[in-house]
Structure formats: structure tokens, C-alpha cells
């Protein structure tokens, strides 16, 4: 048999794979075997075919693996840079300058808010606003119904316990046109409320121990109150014993302190507690200040009932005040 030409040899080479895969026909197998045993160069290729195939596979795999590993490295380096930037951020956070910057920002924001709030309050036109939102009630056209306006039933029960019998009839009366509370301006921020409130002062409250060396905590509290140091009085009140705190006079003054500090809800609680006592030294004053505290606490209905009660009592010390306030607040 003559040695195959170059092209034939390559064709035979292609047959190597088919030979290894068992895909040769019987005739092809005969030719292949003949060539294998007679041609050392061809035998050499056949001999190493498995390794060559492996190498080709290996080269492909190596290439693919290199690419994948490169991508993994890329992803990891991206993650590292992300972690690094997080660490830089953390480092930045640890820098005292960072905290100074935060503090400065907070101061600016707080100041801006305070300025805006002050500006808003000073520009408020209470009468016009209230009249616009809440028209003056017309008893002929709009029957009153207080019960529809009540929000917290528990509060109503509490209130009913304290409302004098004389004003319960008012509560039963039909109300003027009811509008939801949320559309009404808050009474607590109303400047009329601030004008109406003057801390209670009576000569009997003036401490007689002034100038003495050792003053009791109660004396200090009363002195602070008399001197109109209400914030100091609030601090001193906390230092009083429980029995002193339960004293009606002290509680009454403290209620005034709370009103001054615009802690209306706490003031309401104090004055309600006082209303439970049978022997009330500041009976009428307590009613007046409770009414103010209720207005401050946005308990519109309850404050209105109480003010009505005061206004309808001809001998009440605060009758004129109540009438004036009701008029101004359109209650």
C-alpha cells in the first residue's frame, strides 16, 4: 500500500476520533487498521490521540476557568472597594470633625425650626382665624348638642363627676353647629389664652418666713412662687414630701406653675384632684384655672361648660373673666 498523501493523511486523522468513538464503518475500520500498522507517523498520532484530546479539552477548560476566575476577582475587588469605602465612612465617622459637623447641622436645623415657629405664632390672627373656621353659634338656627362633640368617653365621665350640678343643665342643652375638632385651631397656642392667664396671687400666700436663716422646702417653694420664679418653683415642688405635695394650697399653686409652663394636661389633673376636696380654699379660683387648663389642653367642650358655669354664677369672682374669654374665643 502506498503512503497516503498529506490530504488523505488529514482525512485519516479526522477518522481517529471516529475510531475512538467506535463510529467507523466496517470498511473504514479496515482501512484505518491497515494505515495504523503500516504508517508509524499515523500510529504516533493515534497513540497520542487521547492525550491530544485531553489537551484540547484542558486548553478550553483552562481558558474558561481563567475567565471565570478573573470575573470572580473583579467581583471580589468591587466588594472590597465597597467594604473599603464603608470603612472610610466609618473612619470619617470616628473623626471628631464629623461629630462637630453633625452638631452644627442640628443647631442650624433647630434654630431654623424655632425661628419659623416663632414667626408663625407671632403672625397668627386668632379672632379672624377662629371666626372663619368656627362661625359664632346661633342658638335659634343651630340646636346645641355637646354629647356629639365628646371624643373620650372616660374623660366625659371624669368631667361629669366634677361639673357642678348647676351647669349640668347646660351640658344637656343642644349645641351649636358641630364641627370636628381637627378643623379648629388649637386653643393651647391661642394668644388670648396667654392673655387670660395670670398666675394666682393672694397676700395670704406670701411667705412669712422671708429672711430667716433656714427655710423649709415648702417655704422656698412659696417664696419662689410669690417672686414669680415659676420654673424654680416647679423644681422645688419636686423636692417636697408627698404630704406637702398633697396640700391643697401647694397643689393649687403648683397647678398655676404648670399653667405658666404650658403643661396644661398636668394642670388639668392637679385641678381636678383639688375639685374632689370638700373644703376648698380656692374654690372659685380653682374652677377658673381648671377652665384655663382645659382650654390649654384643647378640651373645648369641657372648658366651654365650665366657663358657662362660671359666667352664669352672678357672684363668681371670675364671672367677668369667663364672659370675656368666652367672647374672645367664640365659645
Amino acid at each position: 500500500m502506498s503512503k497516503p498523501c498529506y490530504v488523505d493523511f488529514m482525512e485519516l486523522f479526522d477518522k481517529i476520533e471516529a475510531y475512538h468513538n467506535g463510529a467507523l464503518t466496517q470498511k473504514e475500520q479496515k482501512i484505518f487498521n491497515k494505515e495504523l500498522y503500516s504508517n508509524p507517523a499515523f500510529a504516533h498520532l493515534v497513540k497520542h490521540h487521547k492525550k491530544m484530546r485531553w489537551s484540547a479539552d484542558g486548553i478550553l477548560e483552562l481558558e474558561l476557568l481563567d475567565n471565570v476566575q478573573q470575573i470572580v476577582a473583579d467581583i471580589n475587588s468591587n466588594n472590597d472597594s465597597h467594604t473599603q469605602s464603608s470603612e472610610e465612612h466609618l473612619h470619617k465617622k470616628r473623626n471628631p470633625k464629623y461629630y462637630w459637623l453633625i452638631a452644627l447641622t442640628l443647631v442650624i436645623i433647630t434654630s431654623a425650626y424655632w425661628l419659623f415657629h416663632s414667626h408663625y405664632k407671632s403672625n397668627e390672627i386668632p379672632d379672624a382665624t377662629i371666626e372663619t373656621i368656627e362661625p359664632k353659634p346661633n342658638n335659634d338656627q343651630h340646636p346645641k348638642n355637646h354629647s356629639q362633640e365628646l371624643i373620650n368617653p372616660q374623660k366625659v365621665i371624669d368631667e361629669k363627676e366634677e361639673i357642678p350640678t348647676s351647669i349640668k343643665a347646660v351640658e344637656e342643652e343642644p349645641d351649636s353647629e358641630i364641627k370636628p375638632d381637627h378643623v379648629k385651631p388649637s386653643l393651647s397656642t391661642n394668644p388670648i389664652m396667654a392673655q387670660a392667664f395670670t398666675p394666682y396671687r393672694h397676700p395670704s400666700l406670701k411667705s412669712t418666713t422671708r429672711g430667716q436663716n433656714e427655710l423649709s422646702m415648702r417655704d422656698q417653694f412659696e417664696m419662689a412662687y410669690w417672686d414669680a420664679n415659676y420654673d424654680q418653683a416647679a423644681v422645688l415642688y419636686q423636692k417636697l414630701s408627698d404630704s406637702e405635695k398633697n396640700n391643697a394650697s401647694i397643689s393649687f399653686l403648683y397647678g398655676n406653675v404648670l399653667l405658666f409652663q404650658k403643661k396644661y394636661n398636668e394642670a388639668v389633673i392637679i385641678f381636678r384632684e383639688l375639685a374632689k376636696n370638700k373644703n376648698r380654699r380656692f374654690d372659685q379660683a380653682e374652677q377658673w384655672y381648671l377652665a384655663l387648663a382645659l382650654i390649654g389642653d384643647d378640651q373645648r367642650t369641657h372648658s366651654k361648660i365650665l366657663l358657662n358655669s362660671i359666667a352664669n354664677s352672678p357672684d363668681h369672682t371670675y364671672r367677668a373673666n369667663a364672659l370675656d374669654l368666652m367672647k374672645k374665643l367664640n365659645l
Binding site: 498520532l45 485531553w54 484540547a56 479539552d57 478550553l60 475567565n67 476566575q69
Partner: protein, 194 residues
């Protein structure tokens, strides 16, 4: 980007850019990576074993797509890749002659779809391949890679820019001859391969 089997096939066959894109997407898929990790942990793998298996899993996917024109996945791609990862890990265990024979027997499920034909190139084999590649040069590498990927001569000619399938066949023959000569000259290599 949601990866469908068709998208994966097209991208892998489109060339290196497409393959890299798919690799990047799969390797960045936290859900997939977690699934593979869980599969491998169940088979006794440790943290340090995971990255290597994941890399080979992606390589095997590439090889399967390249070699099989009718590549098809019955389940979803995540389950498929978890199956491949499991088989790679079991092969590695066998290679280590691990004592975890029972585990292999328990967990090895015959599944043609996820069967692997990886060489799992260790450093020694890698150095052999690199020395072979130095002899072959770039053109041979390209032709042999495409051939190993199952492309026909005509397709390789189109992909690599050779004039015809005949030229590719001739190039392949030359490359194979170089390889055969290399093995003849380095008989010790034979024992290291396959």
C-alpha cells in the same frame, strides 16, 4: 436581568464577551450561590472548598452549552447548576480518596443532565497545559479550543477568520502533530494526564 436557558445558551455561544457576561451574572446571583453552598455543605464541604467548586460549575455549564448544540435543561437553571456542583464536589472527594464514600454513594444520583466531564486541572496539569500552549501558539490554541468545544470545521473557520474549513483542518492537523510530538518527547507527562 433574569437568565433564561435560551439567553444563557446564546450568550455563551456568542463568544468570550457573552460568556463573561453570563459568568458575571451567575456569580453575582446570591440566591444561586447560597443554593450551591447549601448543597455542598450537606455533602460535607467546608467554606474553603466552595469557591473552587462554584468556578468549575460555571466552566462545566460553558462546556456543556458549547459542546452540545441541543443543550437543554429540564429543571430551572439553579437546580441544574446545583446538580453540577454536587457532581464536581463528589468527583473531588473521590480524587481525594476521601473517607466520605458512604456520603458519595448516598448522594450521588445518576443524572445525565448534570454529569460532568471536567478535567479539574490541578497545578501540575496546569503547568503541563501551559507548556503545551507555549508550543502551540495563539492560532493553535484557538482552533483546538473550538474543536474541543464541538464546533465544526466550517464554523471554526467562520469564528476564527480562516478562509475555509480545509484550512482549519490543516491547522488542526499541524497542532495535533505538535501535541503528539510533545507527548513523545515528554513520556513522563503521559502518566500525569488523564
Amino acid at each position: 436581568m433574569e437568565l433564561t436557558i435560551e439567553k444563557i445558551k446564546d450568550s455563551i455561544r456568542s463568544g468570550r464577551i457573552g460568556r463573561d457576561q453570563i459568568s458575571r451574572n451567575l456569580l453575582s446571583d446570591a440566591h444561586l450561590i447560597n443554593s450551591i453552598r447549601k448543597t455542598l455543605f450537606k455533602l460535607g464541604a467546608q467554606d474553603h472548598d466552595i469557591p473552587d467548586v462554584i468556578n468549575y460549575t460555571i466552566v462545566q455549564l460553558m462546556k456543556n452549552v458549547l459542546k452540545n448544540p441541543n443543550f437543554h435543561v429540564r429543571s430551572n437553571i439553579n437546580s441544574y447548576l446545583c446538580g453540577i456542583a454536587r457532581n464536581i464536589w463528589l468527583q473531588k472527594l473521590r480524587a481525594r480518596k476521601s473517607t466520605l464514600v458512604e456520603m458519595s454513594e448516598t448522594f450521588e444520583i445518576e443524572d445525565e443532565e448534570t454529569s460532568i466531564d471536567l478535567i479539574i486541572i490541578n497545578d501540575e496539569k496546569k503547568s503541563i497545559l501551559k507548556s503545551i500552549l507555549e508550543r502551540l501558539g495563539h492560532n493553535c490554541k484557538e482552533v483546538l479550543m473550538k474543536w474541543a468545544s464541538g464546533y465544526r470545521m466550517k464554523e471554526i473557520a467562520e469564528l476564527t477568520g480562516y478562509r475555509s474549513a480545509g484550512v482549519v483542518r490543516k491547522r488542526k492537523y499541524t497542532c495535533m502533530k505538535i501535541l503528539a510530538d510533545y507527548f513523545e518527547q515528554h513520556p513522563h507527562v503521559k502518566t500525569l494526564l488523564c
